[in-house]
């Protein structure tokens, strides 16, 4: 990971040094997922592609690009450009802007003519989106339209039906409506970007007339970063938790020295108001499913006293883990990751102290450490970083904090039992293990992209892939949903595989994953029991399992051995193949009630 590419980056530096930045990224010894991205442009896209590549490489995605010829976005899709079809994109980005609207309303038109214009534009776009859905089954990222650069009617331009600006806003609303109703369709909000950047600077006519760029060159890094955030979210590269400092981060002052009554928080002072706003911003992230934790050099009782102030927006119970002690912060952060069972690369560390930030960056480089400066800018910087950019809001996200909290409670009970199976029985677990069903497709796809540790083959699937697999009669699919007396964990395990094309009594497991939030609950046993039962109904005799090692999935290296499967091969990379005669299999699950 390169610091130079983290927000807030220097856009001109990124543009100028892109070649050496790319060289350095490629020289890094990191594992990246490979994705084929088609960029279909309505204006020049060359630099957008180059800079997007840098940001994607920096988040663990290695892109391969198809770039349409100048302004051929529509033709490429509608007339089945061979080069594009054979490229088989994993994702299509349509870079259209207000320059691509061929006809705008004029003052001479009447309402019905303007409605007709809108209809024509929408028909063209919808035909293209529909065609992509039918032919490519892949996620689509579509720009909305940025505001126009002049206003013939001045302030009336935005509400009079003849206004170009009014027309653009109408089209945008239609785009959003489409996005709300189509799961694999995402809007790249250049309308917000242009205003955030400053429309006058964004729409510098020099770049349009000289190079047919729809925006100024210096805005391209911001543009590409924003786009990369959507892509990394689609492929499950989002962060999951905040690790927050307290003094001068969540409130002004030092609680241990000043006393909880004197720290700056609440509505009494302007500094207090500002910290309250920042706390509110963090608290809102809980609804997005982001976990909150604390890593602070403080006596625990002082930390709690600060959070217990009646005017503190964040309360002690908002945090999953509170580490307020005198340990080094790099040790604390590793402990936090272990306690809530998520990877270090899922953490965002927020601390006003540059020395602490530097310690974390150096000793735990996987953690993201935004460079925050003045407290009034914390919110803006962290927001623009896009750490938690959602592409879909699931029920699970809203409940995630509760689920992790229930886990902490389970751990407490566990401590009071000698026999682990007795403990599991007290959880009164109930699982639903069924073939993939439509309401869970998005969660299943999300899991295949997010799960790293308990994942045997690390096969990533888009929602469209999952839908195709579910519809294929040669495949057997299962999702597992687990509830217990502390709460519903939602869908936590996914398994699918295919019947051998030549030997109809042999079954290959293509994917087996489980969320780490249900580790050691025997959920995998319940899944295997159900899988074997389904396979027996299909007269399968032999089960073949595969393990492909990654940096993160060592915990399942001997997963299949645990089910009495025999290792029949292992190559020099540690890839192993396992085999089982399913007639010799005995059910393993005694603690979970299934279906």
């Amino acid at each position: 990971m390169l610091r130079e590419l983290e927000y807030p980056f220097d856009p001109d530096f990124v543009i100028k040094k892109r070649k050496s930045l790319k060289r350095r990224l490629l020289a890094e010894d990191t594992k990246r997922i490979h994705k084929k991205i088609a960029i279909l442009g309505g204006s020049t896209t060359h630099d957008i592609k180059d800079i997007l590549e840098l940001f994607l490489l920096n988040t663990g995605i290695e892109p391969e690009f198809y770039e349409s010829e100048y302004a051929q976005y529509f033709q490429d899709v509608m007339f089945d450009n061979k080069e594009l079809t054979s490229f088989e994109p994993d994702l299509i980005f349509i870079h259209t802007t207000n320059k691509n609207i061929r006809e705008y309303p004029t003052l001479r038109m009447d309402k019905s003519e303007i409605d007709e214009l809108e209809k024509n534009v929408m028909e063209q776009f919808e035909a293209m989106w529909k065609k992509i859905e039918d032919v490519y089954h892949c996620p689509v990222i579509q720009n909305n339209f940025e505001p126009v650069s002049y206003r013939l009617m001045g302030n009336m331009e935005v509400y009079d039906i003849h206004g170009k600006l009014a027309f653009i806003n109408r089209l945008n609303e239609r785009f959003y409506e489409y996005a709300r109703n189509h799961e694999n369709f995402f809007i790249n909000d250049i309308n917000y970007m242009a205003s955030d950047y400053g429309l006058q600077k964004w729409a510098d006519p020099f770049y349009w007339h000289m190079y047919k760029y729809a925006m100024t060159l210096s805005a391209i890094p911001d543009f590409s970063y924003n786009l990369a955030n959507i892509i990394k979210s689609i492929y499950g590269k989002n962060k999951k938790a905040f690790v927050l400092d307290l003094d001068n981060t969540l409130w002004g002052g030092v609680v241990g020295d000043d006393g909880p009554e004197n720290i700056m928080i609440g509505q009494e002072t302007s500094m207090g108001q500002m910290y309250s706003e920042f706390q509110t911003f963090l608290k809102e992230h809980k609804d997005l499913g982001v976990l909150l934790t604390i890593n602070s050099k403080n006596d625990n009782e002082n930390a709690i006293a600060g959070l217990n102030r009646p005017d503190s927006v964040l309360k002690p119970e908002d945090f999953l883990v509170i580490k307020a002690n005198w340990e080094n912060k790099d040790k604390n952060i590793v402990d936090i990751a272990n306690e809530i069972n998520i990877g270090l690369d899922s953490l965002v560390f927020v601390d006003d102290n540059p020395t602490e930030r530097n310690i974390i960056r150096t000793s735990v480089p996987e953690v993201s450490v935004p460079e925050i400066n003045e407290p009034e800018h914390y919110m803006q910087i962290i927001d623009r970083c896009g750490f938690f950019e959602p592409t879909a809001i699931s029920e699970d996200d809203l409940k995630r904090n509760e689920m992790y909290r229930a886990n902490v409670q389970r751990k407490e009970i566990q401590a009071s039992f000698d026999n682990y199976e007795d403990y599991l029985r007290t959880l009164e677990m109930h699982a639903e293990i069924m073939p993939f069903s439509p309401i869970y497709m998005s969660r299943i796809a999300q899991l295949t992209n997010k799960s790293n540790q308990f994942n045997l083959t690390t096969l990533r699937c888009s929602q469209a892939d999952i839908e195709n697999i579910a519809a294929d009669s040669g495949k057997v699919t299962l999702y597992g949903k687990l509830e217990d007396k502390f709460g519903d964990n939602g869908v936590v395990s996914v398994v699918f595989g295919h019947i051998d094309e030549k030997q109809y009594d042999v079954f290959h497991i293509d994917l087996w994953l489980m969320s780490c939030r249900v580790l050691k609950r025997d959920m995998e046993c319940a899944m295997m029991d159900t899988l074997i039962e389904k396979l027996k109904q299909k007269n399968i005799k032999t089960l073949m399992g595969y393990y492909y090692p990654t940096v993160k999935n060592k915990m399942v290296r001997d997963f299949y051995a645990g089910f009495g499967m025999e290792k029949i091969s292992e190559d020099e990379n540690g890839n192993t193949v396992w085999k089982l005669n399913i007639n010799n299999y005995e059910n393993k699950n005694n603690v979970i009630k299934v279906n």
Binding site: D12, I15, K16, S20, R23, H46, D47, Y211, L217
Partner: protein, 80 residues
């Protein structure tokens, strides 16, 4: 700033943009002399030079300059 000083900075910009430490430009240098200098890289070069000298080329200048010498003339006229 003298012409020599402009060239000293300009060479650094060229080396950054084309990621090639060997590049040295002079009055007669044109796009034909530098392998990667195509119309797409030209944009980046222009912007990098603008940033470096804190100037802005007009469209007319950008379309008419024939070699690095003319570019340096424009730079000198702006910063003096």
């Amino acid at each position: 700033m003298t012409r020599e000083e402009v060239y000293k900075e300009l060479n650094e910009v060229f080396r950054d943009v084309f990621d090639d430490e060997e590049i040295t430009v002079n009055d007669a240098t044109t796009a034909n002399d530098i392998e990667d200098w195509d119309s797409l890289e030209h944009i980046n070069l222009i912007v990098a030079i603008e940033r470096n000298f804190n100037i802005k080329f007009t469209m007319g200048e950008t379309t008419s300059m024939k070699n690095v010498g003319e570019m340096v003339d424009i730079i000198l006229s702006r910063i003096s």
